[in-house]
Structure formats: C-alpha cells, structure tokens
Subunit: 308 residues, 2 copies
C-alpha cells in the first residue's frame, strides 16, 4: 500500500505530541503552549513553544504541512526536467517537524532536529532531515554518545548513510566567517529518494531519525541539568548563542528560504534564543574549557571514535 | 589643489579622535580601547571600542583604510566600462569611519553612522554614508530634532539631498520579513559624485555629516541618560536589539559584503549588542508605549514636520 502525504503528516503530528510530552516530563515545570496557524496560500501548522522552564529556557517543536503553487526557484535540477513536460502550474506539498531547544544550564547542549517531506507535481518525493548538537562546552563522552546514537540509526538503514550524512552536517552547519562549525554536528540529508533503498525503506530510516531525538536528548539533559555553573559559564553560553544566531541568520538555508518566501516569521525565528551576547574580540584563555570547545568546532572529527 | 586619498583618510582619523573624545566625556567613566590591525592584502584600521560604561553598554568607532586588487564584483556599472579599457589589474582604495553605539538606558536610542570614500582605477571616486537612529522608544520631539539636524546639513549642500537621502535610508534600513524599519531612519547615500555639485562640494557635505554626529547624539543622550526605567523597559530594549541583530545579519550590505569578502569579522560585527533577546510571538499591548513605537517603524514618515 502506498504511503500518502496525509499518512506522513499525520505521523509527524504524533511525533510532535510524543516529543513534547517527553520534553515536558524532562523539564518538570514548564508546559508547551500551542498555537495553530493557517497559511493563506494553503495549509498551516501547529506550533508548540516552551519557555522559562526549570530545564528549558526557550524551545519550539513545530509541525507544519503547507501546499500550493510551487515557487519559481523550485524549478530546477531534477524537478525542473519533470515539471517542464507538464501544462498545469506545478504544485508543491511540504510537511515537517522542526525543533530547537535552548536549555537554561550551560552544561546542557542546544539541540536541533528537522525532518521534512516534500512533494511536487510530476512525482517528485523527497525526504530530508537531520539532528545536530551544539554543546556550549564540548564533552567527548557526550559527543561520542550522540554520534553513536545517530550512527546506529543510520547503520540500520544503509552502511554508507552515517559517513555521508555526518559529513553533510559538518559542511552544512559551518560558519564561514567564524571558520568554525556551529557545534559538533550530527547528520544532515536532503532530497533523499534514490540509491539502494526503496522510498519506504528511506521513509523508515527518516522516521527512526525522528524517533531517536527524544531518548538521545533525554540522556544528555539528565546527565547535566543539575550540574552547577558560574556566571562565567553562563556568559560563555550567551556568547555561543550569539554564534548560533549568526549561523541561523547568515547561513541556515531553512531560515533564509522562509524569510525570503514570506514564511511565518515567528515559526522560522523560534530557533533564536531568549538571550544572546556579543563581545568584541573575545579571546578564550589558553588551556581553558572554552578554548577546548573552540578546538572541537571543526569539520571531520571522528566523534564516535572519541577523537574529539 | 586636489584632495588626495591620504587627505581624506587623515581627516577621518581626526574625526574618529574627536568623536571618541566626545563620547568618553558623555559617558563619564568608560574609555575607548584601541586596537590597530593590518590587512594582509593592503591597508588596515584603527578600532576603538567602549564597553560597560555608565551610559554606553557597547559601542565602536572604527576607522579603516584598505586597498588592493579590486574584487570581481566591483566590475560593474559605471566602473566596469572605465576599467575594461585598461590593462593592469584594477585597484581599489576604501576608507571610512563606522560607528554603532548601544546605550545602557532604554530611553537613549541606538545610533549608527558610517561615512566612506571609495576609489578605483580609472578615476572612480565615490562618497557614501549616512546616519540613522534606532530609538527603543520613539519620542516625536527627539525624532524631529534628529531629522532636523540632518536636514540642516543636507539643505546647506543641495535642496534635494534631504528628501532623496531620507527616502534612501527608509528603504535601506527596512527589515522585509518584519515589515518594519530598523528605527526612525535618517539619511543614507552611496556613490555620490555627480549631479549639480563638484566633488569638493560633495566632500564638504560628507564631512558635515560626519561632524554632525557628535553634537546631535550628545543632545539625545543627555536628554535621557538619567531617565528611570523598569525591567519591562529593559526587556523591550533587548527585544529591539534582537531586531537590530536580525537587520544587520540578514540585510545590511556592509555586513554581508564584509563577511563574504573575508573582512575583519570583529570589526564588522562590533555593531551587535552585548545582550539581545528574542521572544516567540511577542505582542505589544494596545495603547502601550511599545505599540506606539511599532506604529512609528514605517517608511515615509515626515519626522521633521512632527508627524511621527
């Protein structure tokens, strides 16, 4: 039986529910506020926002499913050659869940996940997604745990996926002007629907990525949420959040795409932290934990092997 | 006697000195830290940074004078037709002073000024610049004073300049995704070297723009620097700074140009505040001072006439 777009968006809504429940449990005090919105040109979304929690300072778990006339810039590459054979105005459908969580405690990492499904007239069906971690302080054990969890999901689908999608994340989450990665990466993939696996096999992989988010982050949060921190650790967290803002506003394709196509600004920019800081020419002290973290913000580190 | 590039950059350094002295006097406690830097490909700069002052939380008054092979994207329009007749690799020279000041007190506005001079092989000589004001809370009297000061400088040079450059600022300092101007605008101009005035007449106008910065901002700072404020006012200031960050990273041409051409990151991003905040779907209360300010973040308001 063929999986329909409605099956997929329905599954995503269940995933959103499940993740929100687990994050609320983890936080202990704050709950998600829900906002439903509709898009004039077709579709809408269900935003869930948590703030001022015991554990989470600000976070969003956003579901959307939108459709309509495909914007001009989508007529390219593979899609283009299929579309141009047709006569009607090409239509698109896109559904996904996007998450960014900014924790209170600087020892708990920022996390981001996005999984999305895209359809266009002419039979285009694409899966995309990824999870990446931005620790304010890099901990090699946590990094190993995180990458191993993603590798396990990837390996269950295809032996090449982890290396391919890990490299993709390294390249994607890179701040060119800072010459540093946003964090320790993770996996990233787009336009997945070819190669050795069937669409349904890739869809299963994609669902596993979504399902691995909550248990993986739960482990990392529980490990560090009560760890004491100083004002200096907090200030460093705010500086790292400043870099997060820079990456998202200058490079992130989803953000740029959203802002340029008159997307829902509040949903797009929910990724920005409640508080961020910039210091002129900040220099970490030699041998400090901050410098250790900066040393780890590089592409190509084999975190699974513990070579951070 | 022809004005040389060295005359201009030397004048700019004096302007930087004079502005820093006046800002230090205004602050009363903090002083500027100076950093000299050189650019591998030619030239360098003198950065002056103030932070944690009584009045100024973070600010920079940056001088630079750089030169070298002109980057590819400069071969366009007027310049292109001149350049292509030549055989040597085209050279450029650019010098300027850039200022962004983020005050402590939310009643004191953020201010930005930039004046720059640009030369390229083949006789290209351009003046550019502008001053714009970003009040956290718009005050009609202050807005009128500020725009009147700029209008006076413009009117002394050419009757069309204020209207032309005021509109240019409205259009330039516009955040498309927020559908709001960054602040109450000011004046903005670029590639000035034609029309009714001689180069030297335009140069004088340009110098007056630079010279009007300190007295104009001094008036605005002194008026409000001791005005009491609440935590709510402060939080609103942080949100407006968030919008400032968005504008600078998403739209500002100088910032984008700098980041894309491997410019000096710390100088480019000195415009970002020490602290900024984002709230999901913030809504100002009907009739509040915050809502009043949002209503004023529009193009085409005649601030001089007090129609804010």
């Amino acid at each position: 039986m063929e999986v329909t777009r409605d099956d997929i968006s329905s599954w995503l809504k269940h995933l959103q529910n499940s993740i929100c429940e687990q994050l609320e449990y983890l936080d202990g005090t704050a709950t998600f506020l829900e906002e439903n919105w509709t898009r004039e040109e077709g579709g809408g979304g269900r935003s869930r926002i948590i703030k001022n929690g015991s554990v989470f300072e600000k976070g969003g778990v956003m579901f959307s499913a939108v459709h309509g006339d495909a914007p001009q810039f989508l007529f390219q590459e593979k899609a283009h050659s299929i579309i141009e054979k047709q006569h009607e105005k090409p239509q698109f459908f896109a559904t996904g869940v996007s998450i960014v969580i900014h924790p209170q405690n600087p020892w708990v990492p920022i996390i981001h996940m996005n999984i999305r499904y895209f359809e266009m007239s002419g039979g285009v069906k694409w899966l995309g997604g990824g999870i990446d971690l931005t620790p304010h302080y890099i901990d090699a054990t946590d990094a190993q745990f995180f990458h191993q969890a993603l590798k396990t999901v990837c390996d269950a689908a295809h032996p090449s996926y982890y290396n391919r999608f890990k490299k993709w994340a390294d390249d994607y989450f890179y701040s060119l002007h800072r010459k540093e990665t946003r964090g320790i990466g993770g996996i990233f993939f787009d336009r997945l629907n070819d190669g050795d696996l069937s669409f349904n096999q890739n869809l299963n992989f994609w669902k596993h990525v979504g399902e691995t988010f909550a248990p993986t982050y739960t482990h990392l949060v529980n490990k560090s949420k009560h760890k004491p921190f100083t004002a200096q650790h907090k200030q460093w967290q705010l500086l790292r959040r400043g870099r997060y803002v820079e990456f998202n506003l200058v490079y992130d394709k989803g953000t740029k795409f959203g802002l340029e196509t008159n997307g829902r600004v509040e949903s797009i920019l929910m990724s920005l932290p409640a508080l961020a800081s910039w210091e002129y020419n900040y220099q970490a002290e030699e041998g400090s934990a901050e410098q250790h973290t900066l040393n780890g913000l590089k592409k190509g580190i084999d975190w699974v092997a513990g070579k951070g």
